[in-house]
C-alpha cells in the first residue's frame, strides 16, 4: 500500500517535470538569443520590427522586453544588478554617479576598443556630444577607467517651443520669438493681459526646473563658475546664483509662467501646449512625436531659452537621449556588441528616426528628419549635460535648489533665502563627505 503510494508520487512528480520542461523555450543550437530590456513604450513597435530584420539577416534572435514606466524600469534594473541577473543589453536611467556604480560593480562592458577598431569607424558615426554622455574622461571624479561604456540610440535637446499662432495673436512676429530675457518678460505681460497661459512644463517633476536653472547659470556665470560651485569652491550665495534664482521670481511676477506650473506634470504640460492653450513650453525634443500625436496641426517652432546675459552663451541640456549598455557578464556580449553596431548603423537609425520622430544618434541619418525636429538638431552645438561635466552635485543640494525654486514661484521665499538654505545643505554634505 505504502509502496504504491510512493510510486504514484514519483509518477506525478515525473509528469510535472515533463510538463514543465516541455514549457521551456527551445534553443536552437549555434544561434544565440540576445535579450534587451528597455523602457521606451513609443519605440517598442520599431524595436520589434528591427529585431525581426536582424534575425532575418543574421539568424540571431533579439528579444526586446519593454518595462514601463521608466520608474518601474529603473527599479527592475537595480534589482537585477543586485541579483547579478541583468540581460545582455540594458539601459540606465540615472545620473552619472549611478552609471559609475554599475561599472564599478562589473555590470557594464567597456566599449572603447570596439569603438576604436578599424580606425574608429563605429565611433565616427556618432555625434560627439551623444557619445560624451556615455564616456568617462581622463581624471573623472568617479574613479572610472577612461573610456566609452554605452551606445547612444538617439540624441535630444531640452529647450523651449512656442506657439506661432498665439504669438501672432498677441501682436508679435511669429517668426521672431523673444531673444532676450527682457523680451520674454515683456511677452509675459502681454500673456497676462490676454488671459492666456504662458510657459508650461513638467515642473512638478523637479528635474526640469533644474534643467532651466542650469541653462541660466551657464548663461550668467559660465561653465567654469558653475562647476566650481559643484566642487564647493564658490557658494550658492554668490550674486550669480542669486540672479539665477531671481529670474524665476521675475518670470512669475510678469505672468509668463502658467498657473499651477509648480505641480504640473509634463504630460499635462504637453496637453496644454498641444491644444493651443499655452504660448511656450519647456520640453525635450521627444515632444515632437508627442505633439504630433496630440495635435498634428499645431503650428509651433523651437527656440533657445531667451538669454539673460550676453556674457556667456546660452547652454541647454542635450546629448544622448537614450543609450544601451552591454552586460559585461553576458556570455553573448560579443553578439550584443555586434547587434548594437547594426542598430546604430545609418539605415536602422534612419528607420528609428522616421518611425519614432526622435533625433538619430548617427550623424549620417539626419537627412530624413522632419523640419521641426531639425530645429532641435540645429541647437545641438549649444548643448551640455551634467553627465559630461565629470562631477556631480549632491542629490540633497539639487533637491533643495529645485524645491527652493518652487518656493520662490509660489511666493513663499525669496531668492536670497533659498540661496542661503541651499548653501547650508551644500556645506553639510561637504562636511559629511570629508
Amino acid at each position: 500500500m505504502f509502496k504504491s503510494q510512493i510510486l504514484k508520487l514519483v509518477a506525478i512528480c515525473g509528469l510535472c517535470i515533463g510538463i514543465l520542461s516541455g514549457c521551456a523555450p527551445k534553443k536552437e543550437a549555434g544561434k544565440p538569443s540576445i535579450t534587451a530590456w528597455h523602457w521606451m513604450t513609443d519605440r517598442e513597435p520599431a524595436f520589434q520590427e528591427l529585431a525581426k530584420r536582424y534575425e532575418a539577416e543574421t539568424g540571431v534572435k533579439i528579444n526586446f522586453e519593454l518595462y514601463a514606466p521608466s520608474d518601474a524600469y529603473s527599479q527592475k534594473v537595480r534589482a537585477a544588478a543586485q541579483g547579478v541577473n541583468l540581460p545582455d543589453i540594458f539601459g540606465i536611467l540615472s545620473e552619472k554617479r549611478d552609471f559609475s556604480s554599475f561599472i564599478k560593480a562589473g555590470h557594464i562592458l567597456e566599449l572603447t576598443s570596439y569603438m576604436d577598431e578599424a580606425d574608429g569607424q563605429w565611433r565616427s558615426k556618432f555625434f560627439a556630444k551623444a557619445l560624451a554622455v556615455n564616456e568617462f574622461s581622463e581624471g573623472n571624479t568617479y574613479a572610472i577607467k577612461p573610456g566609452v561604456y554605452g551606445v547612444p540610440l538617439d540624441i535630444m535637446t531640452i529647450q523651449m517651443v512656442y506657439n506661432k499662432d498665439l504669438l501672432k495673436q498677441m501682436g508679435f512676429n511669429p517668426n521672431r520669438p523673444p531673444n532676450t530675457f527682457a523680451e520674454f518678460i515683456e511677452v509675459g505681460r502681454k500673456i497676462k493681459e490676454a488671459g492666456l497661459q504662458g510657459l508650461v512644463s513638467g515642473w512638478g517633476e523637479v528635474w526640469m526646473i533644474d534643467c532651466l536653472a542650469n541653462n541660466y547659470a551657464f548663461n550668467i556665470m559660465g561653465k567654469d563658475k558653475v562647476l566650481a560651485t559643484i566642487k564647493g569652491e564658490i557658494p550658492y550665495t554668490d550674486p550669480g546664483w542669486v540672479r539665477v534664482l531671481t529670474l524665476f521670481k521675475e518670470m512669475q511676477d510678469s505672468g509668463v509662467l502658467a498657473n499651477g506650473l509648480v505641480t504640473m506634470i509634463n504630460k499635462n504640460a504637453e496637453q496644454l501646449f498641444a491644444n493651443g492653450r499655452a504660448v511656450f513650453a519647456f520640453n525635450g525634443s521627444w515632444c515632437v512625436n508627442v505633439y504630433k500625436g496630440m495635435n498634428p496641426n499645431l503650428n509651433y517652432a523651437a527656440m533657445l531659452p531667451p538669454a539673460a546675459s550676453e556674457k556667456y552663451p546660452m547652454s541647454i541640456w542635450g546629448g544622448a537621449g537614450s543609450s544601451f549598455m552591454v552586460n559585461a557578464r553576458s556570455k553573448n556580449k560579443e553578439e550584443a556588441v555586434e547587434f548594437l553596431k547594426w542598430l546604430t548603423d545609418k539605415n536602422q537609425q534612419a528607420y528609428l528616426a522616421e518611425a519614432t520622430a526622435n533625433l538619430p544618434a548617427n550623424k549620417e541619418s539626419l537627412s530624413k528628419i522632419p523640419e521641426i525636429l531639425s530645429q532641435f538638431a540645429d541647437d545641438m552645438e549649444s548643448t551640455t549635460h551634467p553627465n559630461v561635466w565629470g562631477i556631480s552635485e549632491f542629490p540633497a543640494v539639487i533637491e533643495a535648489f529645485d524645491k527652493g525654486i518652487q518656493s520662490i514661484i509660489i511666493g513663499e521665499k525669496t531668492p536670497e533665502q533659498i540661496a542661503a538654505e541651499v548653501q547650508k545643505i551644500k556645506q553639510r554634505e561637504l562636511a559629511k563627505k570629508r
Binding site: 549611478d98 556604480s101 555590470h107 509648480v262 505641480t263 542629490p395 514661484i409 509660489i410
Partner: protein, 292 residues
C-alpha cells in the same frame, strides 16, 4: 498525551509562523541592518556607518519631520471627517431606507478605484485653469473662491486630505455597517419599550456597542493614511515645494532620487516604529475607554 497535543498545536501554527518569519521578521531585520550602512543599491560593497543614518533622520532631516506632520494632518482629517462620514452613512444604510443596497454599492466604489486614476481625475477637477470645480464656482458667482487648489501652499495639503477621505471612506463605511448589523435588534426594541427615543437608542445602545469597531477602524485609518502616497504622487508629486510631502514619498525619494538605500531603510524602520508606537497608544487609550 499532553505533550503530543501541544506539539500538534505547534505543528498547526508552524506554517503561519514560517511565513511570518520569512516575509516579515527576516526582511525587518535585514532592512534594519541595511539602515546601518551607506549604500547606493548598486555597488556590491556597503560602508558601515553605525547609527548615523538614524541620527540624521532624528536630528537633522527637517523635511522628514515636516512630512511626518503633514501625514499626521491628513490622518487627523481622515480620523474625524472620513470616519464620521463613514459612520453616518453606515448608520443610515443600516436603517430601513429605500435603495439601501444601491447606496452600499455606490459608497464602496471609490475605494476599489485605482489611486492613480482617482488622483488624476481629481487633479483635472481641481485644476486652477480649466478645472471643473473652479468652473462651478464661477457659475454660481463664487469666482472669488476659485484658486489653484493643488499649487497653492495654503490649500494643497487640505485638498489632498479631502480627496484621500473621499477615496477611503468606503472601507470605514463597510466595517461600520458590518458592526452595526451585529447589534441585536432586540436591544433597540427593549430600549424603545423603556421609553428611549432614537437619539437615546443611538447614544446608549449603538455607540457603546460600536466602540470596538470604531477602535479597529481608527487604527486602520491611522495606518492606512500615514502610509498614503500613490494618490499624492498622482495629484501633486509632493509639491508645491515640500507642502504635500509625506514619509513614504521621502523614503522613495531617498532610494530613487538620491540613491541612498541605507538611509531609505533607516527612514523605513523609523517610520515603522513610529506607527507601531501610535497604534499601541491608540489601542491602550481605547482599551481604557472600553473598560470605563
Amino acid at each position: 498525551m499532553k505533550i503530543k497535543s501541544t506539539l500538534e498545536n505547534y505543528l498547526f501554527v508552524l506554517p503561519a509562523v514560517v511565513i511570518f518569519v520569512i516575509f516579515y521578521v527576516i526582511p525587518f531585520i535585514w532592512v534594519f541592518q541595511l539602515g546601518l550602512y551607506e549604500w547606493d543599491g548598486i555597488l556590491p560593497t556597503k560602508t558601515f556607518v553605525g547609527l548615523s543614518n538614524f541620527k540624521e533622520i532624528l536630528f537633522e532631516d527637517k523635511i522628514w519631520w515636516q512630512s511626518m506632520w503633514q501625514a499626521g494632518y491628513i490622518t487627523l482629517i481622515a480620523l474625524t471627517l472620513q470616519n464620521m462620514l463613514a459612520f453616518l452613512l453606515a448608520w443610515a444604510c443600516d436603517r430601513e431606507i429605500r435603495m439601501k443596497n444601491f447606496y452600499r454599492v455606490i459608497f464602496f466604489i471609490p475605494p476599489v478605484l485605482s489611486e492613480v486614476v482617482v488622483g488624476l481625475v481629481w487633479q483635472w477637477i481641481l485644476d486652477g485653469n480649466y478645472g471643473l470645480l473652479n468652473n462651478w464656482l464661477a457659475h454660481f458667482g463664487l469666482q472669488n473662491m476659485a484658486r489653484n487648489w493643488l499649487s497653492d501652499p495654503k490649500t494643497a495639503l487640505t485638498t489632498v486630505a479631502v480627496v484621500h477621505c473621499w477615496k477611503g471612506f468606503g472601507w470605514g463605511f463597510l466595517i461600520f455597517l458590518a458592526g452595526l448589523q451585529t447589534i441585536p435588534r432586540e436591544l433597540y426594541e427593549a430600549a424603545r419599550m423603556d421609553g428611549a427615543n432614537a437619539w437615546h437608542s443611538f447614544r446608549k445602545v449603538t455607540i457603546p456597542l460600536m466602540v470596538p469597531v470604531t477602535v479597529m477602524v481608527s487604527i486602520l485609518t491611522v495606518l492606512g493614511t500615514m502610509q498614503a502616497f500613490v494618490l499624492i504622487i498622482a495629484m501633486t508629486g509632493g509639491g508645491p515645494a515640500y507642502h504635500t510631502q509625506v514619509p513614504v514619498l521621502r523614503i522613495l525619494g531617498s532610494m530613487r532620487g538620491s540613491s541612498r538605500f541605507g538611509y531609505a531603510c533607516a527612514q523605513g524602520i523609523t517610520f515603522g516604529l513610529i506607527l507601531i508606537i501610535i497604534s499601541f497608544i491608540q489601542y491602550r487609550f481605547s482599551h481604557k475607554a472600553r473598560q470605563a
